[in-house]
Symmetry: C2
Subunit: 174 residues, 2 copies
DNA sequence: TGTCAGTGGTTGAACTGTCAACCTTGATGA
DNA sequence: TCATCAAGGTTGACAGTTCAACCACTGACA
């Protein structure tokens, strides 16, 4: 390590802004969603992913990759959601180790009810505050960063980083 | 509520990109910091805030506002950091209810040792991936959102929202 | 057929964050 | 001086996350 590089004032403004944005926006959207639908952002994302999948079901590992969460976290998360009958687990006939996460009717209904309000929040607190150019730059900039960064997985990043195709994270509709 | 408004494809790209960015970047920076310095991002932020304050001390409430965290969270956080001798609490002579959080010598040393590596991570994973225009837009866009959003505080947003001056979040140096 | 490494997934303990209740002290006003 | 209310802060119970085992099963190969 040579001379430490500090930040220019523009970089500082961007970085501090980013940190503030994340903290405050996440807080606001989570609260809105929780109050209006009784769902956490994590719940919501799982429901969206499953709703988009063929037959509304996905193997645990696929779901974890899609949602960019660890298998452990997904497993705990699914256990909680299963207790609320939003999803259910099913064994995989062709692979005795495998488990499917399956969206229940009720889970679908809850998601469908939650989606309009959630999207409205995203508009109200984020998108409507930005110019079209800023929206577009946000997309570009996120992609530019994500291209160089492996998704979070276990405690240590495995040497052969797999699953690089899906760079985005779902979150929008039923 | 009238017709639900969905997202245009540009909006969707921005929103999914943002979600992916946050998840992956936070994960990466947290890990780097933890591995190199044994600090969490939350630890780091507290240390930075205190290091910038006069006499390296701040009242709990001021610190909580500056760091945009709840008082409860800060209290727990400080208890943990106190056990590691990074900070210490001191009573406030002029107000019997008050408590100061004070940066210790050791806390300062740990921060000073951690800062270059952390800043390097921010460069490597975020700033160096972006054009100067994108950096600038990130700053603008964050500010545009934050201006309309109160900082997270208690369970419910109090009607008179206080402490609106500090919109950014510190995170950069010792 | 038996072994054995790797994959898919779960579990429990430790840690972090949230919420609501609580305690103490200060400020206000009768 | 006393009652009352607000402010500053802490606490304990609980929800969610991470980490490191762990178990069950598959696939390959001897």
């Amino acid at each position: 390590m040579s001379e430490p590089r500090w930040l220019t004032s523009e970089q500082m403004r961007a970085w501090r802004g980013y940190l503030g944005l994340v903290r405050v926006l996440d807080d606001r959207l989570s609260r809105d969603l929780q109050e209006r639908s009784g769902l956490s952002m994590a719940d919501y994302e799982i429901l969206v992913r499953l709703s988009e999948a063929p037959e509304r079901r996905l193997r645990m590992t696929e779901l974890a990759q899609a949602a960019m969460v660890s298998k452990s976290r997904l497993s705990h998360q699914l256990t909680r959601m299963e207790l609320r009958a939003l999803v259910r687990r099913e064994g995989c006939p062709s692979d005795g180790r495998g488990t499917f996460a399956v969206l229940t009717q009720q889970g679908y209904a809850v998601l469908a009810a939650a989606a309009p309000g959630h999207v409205a929040s995203v508009h109200e607190h984020l998108l409507d505050r930005l110019t079209p150019e800023q929206v577009s730059t946000l997309g570009d900039l996120s992609e530019a960063v994500l291209v160089h960064l492996p998704p979070p997985s276990g405690p240590r990043c495995p040497p052969g980083r797999a699953g690089r195709e899906a760079v985005a994270v779902a979150d929008e509709r039923a």
